[in-house]
Subunit: 672 residues, 3 copies
Amino acid sequence: MSVNFEHFLYGGDYNPDQWLEYPDILKEDIRLMKQAHINTVSLGIFAWAKLEPAEGVYDFDWMEEIIDRLYENGISVNLATPSGARPHWMADQYPEVLRVNEMRQRTLFGERHNHCYTSPVYREKVRRMNQKLAARFDSHPGVILWHVSNEYMGECHCPLCQQAFRDWVKEKYHTIDEVNRCWNTSFWSHDYQNFDQIESPSSIGESSIQGLYLDWRRFVSYQTTDFCRAEIAALREAGAVKPVTTNMLYKSPWVNYFELADAVDIVSWDSYPFWHKGPESQTAVNAGMRHDVMRSMKREPFLMMESCPGAMSWVPISKLKRPGMLEASSLQAIAHGSDSVLYFQIRKGRGGYEKLHGAVIDHYGKEDDRTYQECRQIGADLEAIGQIHHSKVEASVAVIYDWENRWALEASAGPRNEGMYYREAVEKSYGAFRRQGVNVDVIDMTKSLEPYRVVAAPMAYMFRTGFEEKIRAFVERGGVFIMSYWSGVVDENDLCFLGGTPGGLMDVMGLRSTEIDALYEGESNTLHAVDSDAAYRCEHLCQLVDLRTAVPLFVYGEDFYAGTPALTVNCYGKGQAYYVCADAEQRLYDDVYAQILREAGVRRILEQEIPDGVAVSSRRDADTEYIFVQNFNPAPVTFCPEVPDGEVIFGETGARMKPFSTVILERKTTDE
Amino acid sequence: MSVNFEHFLYGGDYNPDQWLEYPDILKEDIRLMKQAHINTVSLGIFAWAKLEPAEGVYDFDWMEEIIDRLYENGISVNLATPSGARPHWMADQYPEVLRVNEMRQRTLFGERHNHCYTSPVYREKVRRMNQKLAARFDSHPGVILWHVSNEYMGECHCPLCQQAFRDWVKEKYHTIDEVNRCWNTSFWSHDYQNFDQIESPSSIGESSIQGLYLDWRRFVSYQTTDFCRAEIAALREAGAVKPVTTNMLYKSPWVNYFELADAVDIVSWDSYPFWHKGPESQTAVNAGMRHDVMRSMKREPFLMMESCPGAMSWVPISKLKRPGMLEASSLQAIAHGSDSVLYFQIRKGRGGYEKLHGAVIDHYGKEDDRTYQECRQIGADLEAIGQIHHSKVEASVAVIYDWENRWALEASAGPRNEGMYYREAVEKSYGAFRRQGVNVDVIDMTKSLEPYRVVAAPMAYMFRTGFEEKIRAFVERGGVFIMSYWSGVVDENDLCFLGGTPGGLMDVMGLRSTEIDALYEGESNTLHAVDSDAAYRCEHLCQLVDLRTAVPLFVYGEDFYAGTPALTVNCYGKGQAYYVCADAEQRLYDDVYAQILREAGVRRILEQEIPDGVAVSSRRDADTEYIFVQNFNPAPVTFCPEVPDGEVIFGETGARMKPFSTVILERKTTDE
Amino acid sequence: MSVNFEHFLYGGDYNPDQWLEYPDILKEDIRLMKQAHINTVSLGIFAWAKLEPAEGVYDFDWMEEIIDRLYENGISVNLATPSGARPHWMADQYPEVLRVNEMRQRTLFGERHNHCYTSPVYREKVRRMNQKLAARFDSHPGVILWHVSNEYMGECHCPLCQQAFRDWVKEKYHTIDEVNRCWNTSFWSHDYQNFDQIESPSSIGESSIQGLYLDWRRFVSYQTTDFCRAEIAALREAGAVKPVTTNMLYKSPWVNYFELADAVDIVSWDSYPFWHKGPESQTAVNAGMRHDVMRSMKREPFLMMESCPGAMSWVPISKLKRPGMLEASSLQAIAHGSDSVLYFQIRKGRGGYEKLHGAVIDHYGKEDDRTYQECRQIGADLEAIGQIHHSKVEASVAVIYDWENRWALEASAGPRNEGMYYREAVEKSYGAFRRQGVNVDVIDMTKSLEPYRVVAAPMAYMFRTGFEEKIRAFVERGGVFIMSYWSGVVDENDLCFLGGTPGGLMDVMGLRSTEIDALYEGESNTLHAVDSDAAYRCEHLCQLVDLRTAVPLFVYGEDFYAGTPALTVNCYGKGQAYYVCADAEQRLYDDVYAQILREAGVRRILEQEIPDGVAVSSRRDADTEYIFVQNFNPAPVTFCPEVPDGEVIFGETGARMKPFSTVILERKTTDE
C-alpha cells in the first residue's frame, strides 16, 4: 500500500479543545490558516478528557463541528486516537492503567504516556474509544488519515507487564534451560529455576544479565507495537478505511521503529533538529539522515508529522530560527521523501508545559509576526512544487543503523563505558556518502541488500541472526561492503562469538580482529595511507587486526600498534569488503568513501564538485527526476547547480547560493 | 509596630543544653561573653528533647536557671520555641508528624524541620509547648524577644497536606472548571473532574502543569506562614506580650518571605555571604541586597539573627575570614538597617553536623583566639556607635524581586531551561544603583511604589494581579520605570497574555516584544549606543522588540537582529519607561543607571565619585543622618569620604581606606 | 600461622561451571593452562546454583571431576565457598535473605552480594553448604586453600540488621545516656529516649549524627567480619584443615580490612591498577602502596588473588595493556610480598556483565594471542625465580592509613566538603619514602610502632583510643614522627577535643593548631624554607599553628598568614616530631623525607640515586636478600642497578633499563 494524498500536506497539530471558550479565536484560526495555505491539521491528539468527560459519556459534537468547519474551508484532518494521555477519571477508577516504574513504584496520574500497554482495562477503553471515533468520523470527507496515539514511549514494570514478559520469554525460548544458556546466567550464579522468577531489569534488582536487558527491550518494543496494532484493529473493526499512521520519535530507546513501521500504512515522524547549535552543515546531514531512516523503513514517501515553526521550548536553549532556516528545514524534509510539512502546532497554547513552544500563530495572534509570515511563504512554496508529491527517493547506497544493535551496545560493559558513539559512527558514514551527492537509504539488519551497490555497516557489534549470510551473499555477488571496528562480536543473544571475530565473516573481511584499544577523551591516534602521504586522526576506539587475505590501505601511526593495519580491503567473490579499524575523523570517511563510490560506479546526482554545507538529493516519479540543492551554510556559497536538460522549478540559480536557500530542478528521465 | 531594643543586640545562638554536664564550661561562657560585650543570646532553639524529655513531662528548670544567670550578667534572651526539631518520642508515638516526600515516601526521624506543618498532632504539641514557655518565661525581664521556631523550610506531601492543599485550591477557585481554566489543564488532557483528584506535583506524577506547581508553591508558603501564625497565637493566648520574630533564610524556595514577614513583629534573618570566593566587591553588593530585601519587607530595622564569626562548615570550601572581614560584614548589616549582630553560635558544639562551624568560643576555649578577639572588638564597636540603633534607611529607588515571579520563572519550560538568571538580573540592577551611592529598597510586586522616584523591575515575567495598573500609575505621575527582557509574559495564573507583551503595558513601554532569542553559554551579542561609541556585551537572552512610541538608545550589534533596538525609552504621562532588551553586562547597567539617576534628580549620599568596591549607605533618625562608607576591597583604596558638616564617629579617614575598613560619619539634618 | 605454598601460585579464577556443555573447551583449557605454567585456579566462586540447584539437592560431582582432572595435570585449587551470590530459589523461598537498601526498600534478586549478612536463614544455608564442601573436598590433595566467599561488600538496612545494630550499640555503650553523650545527640534535639529508636543512617532519615554514621560503619564491618568468621567456623567444624583466605578489595568503605585480616590465615586481595591513565610512575607508586597495605596487615606474604591479564571491562575506558606492562605489574606484586600472581580469569565468559573483561584465554580460544603469550611468559618467569617465594619484606619505615579515620573524615562536615584528599595525602608520604628506595609498611592506628624508625601519620583527624600514648612513647624513645594538618581534631567518638589540638599531643608536636584555611580548587599558597631558597606549592588546606617549643622549617608565602609556620620540627624525648601544615606538592615531601631518612639513618636498598619512575624494593629470607628494580616508565631509562656481591637472577642489566622491565638481584646476607 502506497498512500497518496494527491498534494503535499501542509499544516500541523491543532488543539481547538484548548480554546473552546474563545469562539473568536477559533474563527480567526481558520482565517489565518487559509491565508497561510494550510490544508491539513492533526486533531484530537490529547482530547480524551473532552471526548469522554466521564466514563461512558461521549461528547463528539464539538469535534464534528470543528471538522465540518475546517472541511468547509478546505482543510483536511488527520484524526487522532486520544490514547497518548488518558483522562484522570480512568486512573482513579482503574489504578492498573497507571505505570509502575523500574523501582517498582506505581506512579501517580500525570504527564503523558503514563499508562500500561498491557493493561486489559486500558486496552478495552482504547478499543471502545477508537471504535466510536471510527464509526463517527471515518466516513467524513474531511478526514484523510488516522493519527494513532502520539509518540508511543516509555515502559511499565507492573505485575501485568511482568507476566506478559514471562509469557513472551517462554514463547521465545520454550525451556528455562534455554533461557539460562542464551542469557549465560551461570555468570554470578543467576541461573533461573523457573519462568516465574523472571523479572524485568531494575536498579534495585537485576542489572547484570545483558541478555535479559536485550530481551526486555525487545519485549517493550513488541508490546508497544502490539498495542498499536490493537488500536488499528479497533478502527478497522468499526469499518474505518482511511489509512493509518502513528508519529514516531527518533532517539526512542523503547520502540524499534523498523518493527512499528510494519503496523502502519504510512510512516510519520516528528523532526526537531537543533539548528544553530553546532555547525549548520553537520546539523543538516544529521537531520537528513533521520528523514532517510524514516523513509527507508518502507522505501516509500513518509510524513513529517511534527516540526517546530519557531523555537522549541523543551530544549536547554530555545534558539530562534534565523530567517530562511524554517524554509530550508521544511524543504529538506520534502527533498528526502516527505509528502508533508506539518508543525507542532498551529496555535500556541496559553498554559502548561509547551506554552512557549514555537507555533504558526503566536499568543500575539496577529499576522505581522515573523514566524507566521515565513509559514505563509512555505505554504505558497509547497503549492508551487506540488508536482513532486508522491515521487520517490531511489538509492543504490545504504548505511545500516540497527535498533537492536544499539540496545546491545548500550547494555554491554566495555570497551568504552563512557561512550561508544554508535549513532555518531553511523552519521559519519552516512555523511560521507551524502557529501558525494548520492541518495542514501538507512536500514536495519533485517532489510534486503538487493537494491544496493554499496553498503556500510558501522560498529555492527551484534550480528542479528542471518546477517553474516546476507553480507556474504552481497559481497559474493559483487557488492561493496564496508564494516568498521567492534563488529561481529556477539550473536543475537549477546553471546560472544567463539573462534574469532568478526564472527562468521573473517574470510569475507580477510582478517581477524584481535584486540580493541579504548582511548580516553582527548587521546588520539593517526591513520596513515600506505601509498600516499594522507593522514587522519582517530579517537575513542582502535581495533587491532591480523590480516589474512586483506591488504592494508592505512596503518596506525602511534602507540604500540603503530604500523599495523588501520583500514583494509579484501576481495571476496565478485565484491570487496572494507574494514575501518578506528573511529576516524569525518575527513577520512569523506575521502575514502568518495573513492569507493567512484570505483563502484555509483552515479552522483550532480556531476559537479559540491561545496561544503550544500546538500544534494533527488526524488523521482515515472518520467521525472526532481533535484534538490540546498545551501545550509549561514553564509552565501559560490555554486550554481547544473543539470543537463534540467529546468529550475524553484529558487534562483546564479553565481552564488544565498544562506539557507534551496534550488529545485526538474529533469525528464524518459530516455534513460 | 516598630520594635526598639534600645541598643544594638550583640551575641548569638547559645546552646547550653549541649553542655549541661560541663558546669565549668557554662560558667566560663558567661565570663567570655561579658568580656566580648555580648548582651543577647538566642536560647532553646533545638531544646525540645530537653524541655519535654517524655510526652507531657516538662522540664524548664535548667532553662530558667540559665536565663537567670544570663540576666544577672547583663545578657538578654531571644527565647525560641523549639518547633524546629521535634523529639524522637513524638515521631514514634505519632507517625503523622513525619513528612512524606514528593516520591510519597514517609520519611524517618532525622534532620530538622522534618515534620508536617499540617498535622493536627504536631500543631497541638507545638501549641502546648509554646503556651507553657510563654506562661513561664514571657514575664522574665531577661527575655526580650520570642524567636519562633528556626528557619522554616521544606514541604510535606502527606495525605493531610494533600487534603489541605485541595481545600486551599477550592477556597481559591470555587469550581473545578475554574481550576481547569486557570491551570490550562486541557493541555495533554489533564482536566480534573473533581477536587479530590488534585495532588501536589511529583516526579512520579504530575510535573507538567505549571499552574499547579505555582499554586503548590503558594500553598506551601501559606501553610508554613499559617503554622507560624499558630505558633504566635499560642504564645499570645498564654499571655505573652514580648515581640515576636522568626529567622528567615534567603534563597528559600518554600516560603515567600514577604508573606511571612506580615506574621511577625520584626523581621530577622540568617546571613551567610561567601566572602573570599568571587570578587569581594560583588559579594558585598549581593550581601547588601539581601539585607535590603529583609529591611524592605517592613521598611523598618530588622535583625541579623545569625551570621558566622569564623568559617562555615556546611559550604563546599570552609574559607577562613581574613582579618577585618568579620567586622566589615557585621557593620554592613548595621549599615543596611540591622539593629543587631548575632552569630551562630556562641560556643562551638563538640559533635554533630555543625561541630566545625565557626563560633565565638572555639573548642580550644580560651581567649587568645583570633575569632574571639575579633568578636570582642566588634562588641566594643557596637557600643561605640550605639546611637545609630533604631534609625531607619530611606530610599527613593527600588528594585523589584518577587518570590512568585521567581517560582513562575523556574516552573516555565523555555526559553532557557539551562538557566534564566533571574536573581542575577536583579542583582545587576541593584548593584548599578548601589554603585551610585544611593540606598535601595528591594520589594515585591505587591508593595506600594509611592515612596520611589525610580523603580527597576528586571525580568518581570509574571505580572501579579494589579501590577500593570501600579506601573502605569507610577509612570503617569512622573516615576522613572525600568523593565527588562522577558517581562509581562504571563498573568498570575501563568497563562500567557494574548494580544502582545509586555501584557497591558505596551503603551507605557512604547513597544511590543516580538521574539526572544536564547544564547548558548559562551555565546554573546553586543549593544551599541545610538548616539555614542559606547558598546557592551550581553548574553543568555536577547529580546526582539517592535517600537511604537519608544525610541532606541542602544541597538544590537550582531546576528540577524543587528541594528534593531536593544535598549529603549518611552515618555508616558509625566514619567519615562525604559526597556532593557538583553542580559547586558554589569557595566551597561552601571553607566545607564547613573545617567537615569542623574536625570531623575536622585540625591546621592556622598557627592564624590565612589571607587570600585567601596559601599556607601545611610541611616537616619529624627535629626541625624549616619553615613557608612566601607571598603570591601582586599587592598587599600585611595578615598577619603567627605560630608559637609559631617563628623567621623567611627573609623579613620585619611588619604586611603584600609582593606575591609569602615568609616561612619554623622550629620545633623535638622535644617534640611 | 605463616602460610607457605612451597612455590608461587600462578593462575586465577576458573569458572568451568559456565562451560559444562562445552567438553572440548574444558579439555582445551587444561592444555592451554599447562602450557602457560599455570599451577593454581580458584574454583566455584559463583557456583552455588550449580552446587545446590534446588533447596537441599546438592550436586558436587561435576566439581570433583574438575578438581581431579586439574590435579592430574598439576594444577591445584583454591576452593571457594559460594556465598558471594546465592541462588534464585533461596530469594524466592526466604525473602529475608534479600537486602534492604538505605531508602528502606527490599531489593529484588540480582547482582551479587545482595544478601543480608545478619539473616539467620542465610547464615544457616551458608553453614550447611560450607560444611558439605569441607567434608567432601578439604582432604582432596588438589585443594590447597579455602577461598571464602568473594569480595565481601555492601550493607543491609533490614529489620534484622537494625536489631543487630541496636544490640551492637547497646553492647558498646550500655546506656542510652552514654549513646547520647558520645554521639552528641542534643545537637538538633536528636536525643534518643531508648535503644529501640536507633536506626541506621538514611537519606530519608538521620544523616546528621556523625557518631551514628561512624558506628554504623563499624557495625557493618563487624557484621561482615562476623559473617566471614561464621563461614570459616563451618569449614573447621566439618574438619577442614587447609588454610583460609578471603579476597579483599581496596577502596571498600564497608569493611575495615585490618579487622577482617584477623579472621583469615593469609591475606589476599584483588589488584586492578589503572595503568596507562595518569603518569605511569605515579600509578606504580599507588599500586605498590596497595600491596603494602595488604602485606602490612599481617606483616607476612600475601596473595594477589585477582588481577587483569588484559583490559578491564567495568572501567570507564578499557585500555589495552602495553607490551611488558602485565609482566611489570605481576612482578611488582611479587616485589611487594605477594606469593602469587592470579588473574580474573582463566577463560573469558561468553555473556553477562564481564564477558569482555581480559582473560588468559580469549573467546578466540587459540594460543596465538598476545595476552596468552604474555601470560605464558610470566608463568615461566615465576618458575625461574621460585626461590623468592615465602621470603619477607622488612621495613623500618611506616605510613599510617586508617579505615576508621577515613570514615570519620568522610562523615565530617567541613573544612572541605568538596574533598579532603586523605588517601592522596597518605600516598604522598608513602611515595616520598618509596622514591628513596626503602620498603614501607602501611598500617593503621592499632598497630605497634615498635618495628619502625620513622612513622608518618598524614591527616590523622581522629585519634583512635590509645593513639596519642603510642605516638608519645614512640617519639620519647627516639622515633621520628611526622604528622600533618588536620590531625588530632576528634576522639574516637568524633567528639572534638577541648583545650587545643592536636589533642593530647601539643607538647610532643611543640605547637597548637589554631585555624585551618580551605582553598578553592585552583587556589594555592607556597611554603618557603626558612634557611634556603627552596619553595613549594600547596593547595586544598592550610593549617595555621602557634608554636610552643617547635621550630619552623618552612613558612607560608602568601595570604594573611604569610610568614607563619608551614612545616615545623620539635625535639621531644629522644626523638623528633615533624608537623606538615599544608597539603604540599609531592616534591616537598620527596625532599623533606629524603633528609629525614638520611638523618634517621634508615638504610636504602640501593645506594645509587634512583631515577624517576624506577621502583626499588626487596624481600628477604634467612640468608638472602632479593632486590627488585623495576622501570615503570614507558620509555627506557639510563640506570644500571649495582649491588655489592649481588647477582642478577632475573632480567638484564646494562646502561639502560627498557620500558616496563624488571631486574632482580640476589645477595647473600649471612655476614650482616
